[in-house]
C-alpha cells in the first residue's frame, strides 16, 4: 500500500467532512434556538425506536429538530471514522494520521456528551457539548487544509509573506477571544433563559443594567412570550454583558491585527487579505449578535449567529495555523542556511530545499 501526503480524494473527503460538521453545528443551533433539545427524552434510542427506524410520521415539532440533529450527527460520526481510517492507511505524515485518531475520539466523545445532556438533564453538559463542537470543527477544517495540495506547495514557497512572531501572538489573542465568545454564547444558550438583556445598544434601558432582586423580578414578570424561559438571574445578565464587551474586544483585537499586518506586509499580501476578510466576518458576526437581540432571539437569526461564530473561529484558526506552521518552517530553513554558511560548506542550495516534513 502506498502512502502519500498528497491525496486529492482524501483531501476532498476531508473538506466534505468539515462542511458537514459546519452544517451539523447549524442544526445543533436550531435545536437550542427552538428549545427542542429535550423533545426526544431517550438516547441512544428515539422513543424506544432504533433511531434510524424512527417513523417519519413522528417527526413533528421539536422532535424534528432533535431527531435530525441526531441523524446528521451519525453521518458526521461515520464521515470522521472513514476519514481517520483513510488517513491511517494512506497518509504518509504520522502526525496527520494521529490527528485522524484524535478526530475520531473527539467525535465519539461529542456524541456521548450530546446523549448524556438529554438523559441526565444537565445543562452544563450542553455547554461542554457546544464548545467541544467548535473545537472539533476547527480540527476537521485544519485537517482539510493540511491535506490540500496548496498546503504542500505553500510551505516550500519562500515568496509567501508572513507577519512577525509578535503579530502571530496578537492573532492568537484574537482567536482566544473568539473562542471565549463562543464558550460564553454556548453558556447563555444552554441556560435556556432566553435573552437576559432584551434591548440593544442599551441594556434594560441603561448603559449598565440593574441586577438587584426587585429589578430582576420586574424583568421576569414583564417578559411576555409564547415560550416560558427560565427566569433571568443576575449571573445571566453579567454573562450577557460580558458577551457584549467580549464582542467589542474581539473586534478591536482583530481590527488591530488586520491593520498591523497590512502595515507590515502591504495590502496585497495573502495574510493581509485574509485578515481583512476575517475582520469583516467578525464584524458581520457582531452585527448578527445585535440582530439576535433586536429580533427577540428569532430562531433563524440566533442560529445564523451560531454558524457565523463557528466560521469566525475556523477562519481565524486556519490563518493562525498557516502563519505559525510556515513561519516555523522558514525559521528552520533560515537556521539551516545560517548554519551551513557558518560552516562554509556548499550545502546552501540544499538548505533552500525546505524540509518536507510539513
Amino acid at each position: 500500500m502506498t502512502r502519500s501526503s498528497n491525496n486529492l480524494w482524501l483531501h476532498c473527503f476531508a473538506v466534505f467532512t468539515a462542511a458537514a460538521t459546519l452544517v451539523l453545528v447549524g442544526i445543533g443551533g436550531l435545536v437550542t434556538s427552538h428549545e427542542a433539545g429535550m423533545a426526544v427524552p431517550d438516547w441512544p434510542t428515539t422513543y424506544g425506536y432504533n433511531m434510524f427506524l424512527f417513523p417519519p410520521s413522528y417527526w413533528v415539532g421539536g422532535i424534528f429538530y432533535e431527531h435530525t440533529h441526531r441523524l446528521f450527527a451519525s453521518l458526521v460520526g461515520l464521515l470522521t471514522t472513514v476519514l481517520a481510517v483513510w488517513l491511517w492507511l494512506r497518509e504518509s505524515r504520522s502526525w496527520m494520521r494521529r490527528l485522524g485518531v484524535v478526530a475520531f475520539f473527539t467525535v465519539v466523545l461529542q456524541g456521548v456528551l450530546g446523549g448524556l445532556r438529554v438523559t441526565l438533564f444537565k445543562d452544563q453538559i450542553g455547554i461542554f457539548h457546544a464548545t467541544l463542537a467548535q473545537f472539533f470543527l476547527v480540527l476537521v477544517s485544519a485537517m482539510a487544509l493540511m491535506t490540500s495540495r496548496w498546503w504542500q506547495a505553500a510551505q516550500g514557497n519562500s515568496q509567501l509573506l508572513l507577519p512577525s512572531k509578535k503579530l502571530g501572538y496578537l492573532l492568537v489573542a484574537a482567536i482566544a477571544l473568539v473562542f471565549l465568545q463562543l464558550a460564553l454564547g454556548a453558556t447563555m444558550r444552554h441556560q435556556h433563559a432566553g435573552l437576559a438583556v432584551p434591548d440593544f445598544p442599551l441594556a434594560h434601558g441603561k448603559i449598565w443594567p440593574s441586577t438587584d432582586p426587585a429589578s430582576l423580578d420586574v424583568f421576569n414578570r414583564t417578559r411576555l412570550g409564547v415560550r416560558d424561559h427560565n427566569p433571568i438571574t443576575a449571573f445571566q445578565i453579567y454573562l450577557h454583558m460580558a458577551h457584549r464587551i467580549g464582542a467589542l474586544l474581539t473586534l478591536l483585537t482583530a481590527g488591530f491585527f488586520a491593520w498591523s499586518v497590512r502595515r507590515q506586509l502591504g495590502a496585497k499580501a495573502a495574510v493581509s487579505r485574509l485578515s481583512l476578510a476575517w475582520l469583516t466576518l467578525i464584524f458581520c458576526q457582531a452585527s448578527l449578535g445585535a440582530a439576535t437581540v433586536l429580533s427577540k432571539k428569532a430562531a433563524d437569526v440566533a442560529t445564523a449567529h451560531v454558524v457565523l461564530g463557528a466560521l469566525s473561529l475556523v477562519m481565524g484558526a486556519l490563518v493562525c495555523v498557516v502563519v505559525f506552521r510556515f513561519a516555523f518552517h522558514r525559521d528552520v530553513a533560515r537556521a539551516f542556511v545560517a548554519k551551513s554558511e557558518h560552516l562554509g560548506d556548499r550545502a546552501v542550495s540544499a538548505a533552500k530545499r525546505v524540509p518536507s516534513t510539513g
Binding site: S215, V218, D228
Partner: protein, 236 residues
C-alpha cells in the same frame, strides 16, 4: 378496653369540634392595569387540527370585571409544626388541544398528580422542578397512551411542566405541604376550604402580576380576603 373507648370518644369529640370550627377563606383577585394583548400560539399543522379556535398565551386571563384567573392562593405561614396527610384524591393535568389544562393547578406535596393526553398527537411530559428533591423527568405520552403518575415531596411554587415537542405548552403547579390552597377561577374568585382556626399569612401569587400577602384570622366562621394585583410597569 374502657380506656380505649374513652380515648376514642375524646378523639372523635376533638375531631368534630375542629370540624365545626373550621372555616373557609374566600375572596377575589382583581387585576389593576391593562396587560398587553395575548400572543397567538404558533401551532404546527398537527396541533392546528386539534383546535377549531385560535389559542393564545394565557399570561393574564382577566374577565370583564377585572377578575384575574390562574392566581395561586395558599396559606404561607401559620401552619408550622402541623402535619396534614396528602389528599388521596389525585389532581389531573390534561393535554388537550396542544395545551396543558389547567394552566395553573395546586397540589399537596405527596399528593398524586395524573397527567394524561387527550390529543391525537404525542407530547413529551417534562416537569422542570427547581427545588432539590423534586425529580425532573421527561417521557413521551403517545395518543391514547396510559396516563402518567407524579408526586413531588417538596413544596415549590411554581413547578413548571413543559412539552418540548410543542414549545408553547406550559403548566404551573403550586406545590405546598398542606391542603389549604386554591386557584382563582375565571371570575377571579377562590375558596380555601376547611381552614382550622388560627392566625395565618396567606399569599396570592400570579406568575406575571406578582405576589401579595395578607393576614387572616380564622375563628369559626368564613373569612374573606380580597387581593388586588397589578400589571407591572415596564422596567425603567
Amino acid at each position: 378496653m374502657k380506656m380505649t373507648t374513652q380515648l376514642l370518644t375524646a378523639a372523635l369529640l376533638a375531631g368534630s369540634l375542629q370540624l365545626a370550627s373550621a372555616a373557609d377563606i374566600t375572596g377575589k383577585i382583581t387585576l389593576k392595569g391593562t396587560p398587553s394583548p395575548e400572543i397567538p400560539l404558533p401551532l404546527d399543522a398537527s396541533c392546528a387540527k386539534e383546535r377549531i379556535d385560535k389559542p393564545t398565551t394565557r399570561l393574564y386571563v382577566v374577565d370583564a370585571g377585572g377578575g384575574l384567573a390562574d392566581t395561586f392562593i395558599y396559606i404561607k405561614e401559620g401552619l408550622a409544626g402541623k402535619k396534614f396527610p396528602p389528599s388521596t384524591e389525585p389532581v389531573v393535568l390534561d393535554q388537550k388541544g396542544c395545551e396543558y389544562v389547567p394552566y395553573v393547578f395546586g397540589l399537596q406535596a405527596g399528593q398524586k398528580l395524573i397527567v394524561k393526553n387527550s390529543d391525537k398527537v404525542p407530547h413529551n411530559v417534562h416537569p422542570t422542578p427547581q427545588v432539590a428533591g423534586n425529580p425532573e423527568s421527561n417521557k413521551m405520552q403517545i395518543p391514547g397512551g396510559p396516563p402518567f403518575d407524579y408526586s413531588f415531596s417538596n413544596p415549590e411554587v411554581f413547578l413548571r411542566f413543559t412539552c418540548n415537542i410543542h414549545g408553547w405548552m406550559f403548566a404551573y403547579g403550586g406545590v405546598v405541604d398542606h391542603p389549604f390552597f386554591a386557584v382563582s377561577g375565571k371570575d377571579g374568585t377562590f375558596k380555601i376550604a376547611n381552614v382550622p382556626p388560627g392566625k395565618y399569612v396567606i399569599e396570592a401569587y400570579h406568575r406575571k402580576a406578582g405576589k401579595m400577602t395578607k393576614e387572616v384570622t380564622v375563628v369559626d366562621k368564613g373569612q374573606t380576603a380580597d387581593f388586588t394585583l397589578s400589571v407591572p410597569a415596564p422596567p425603567k
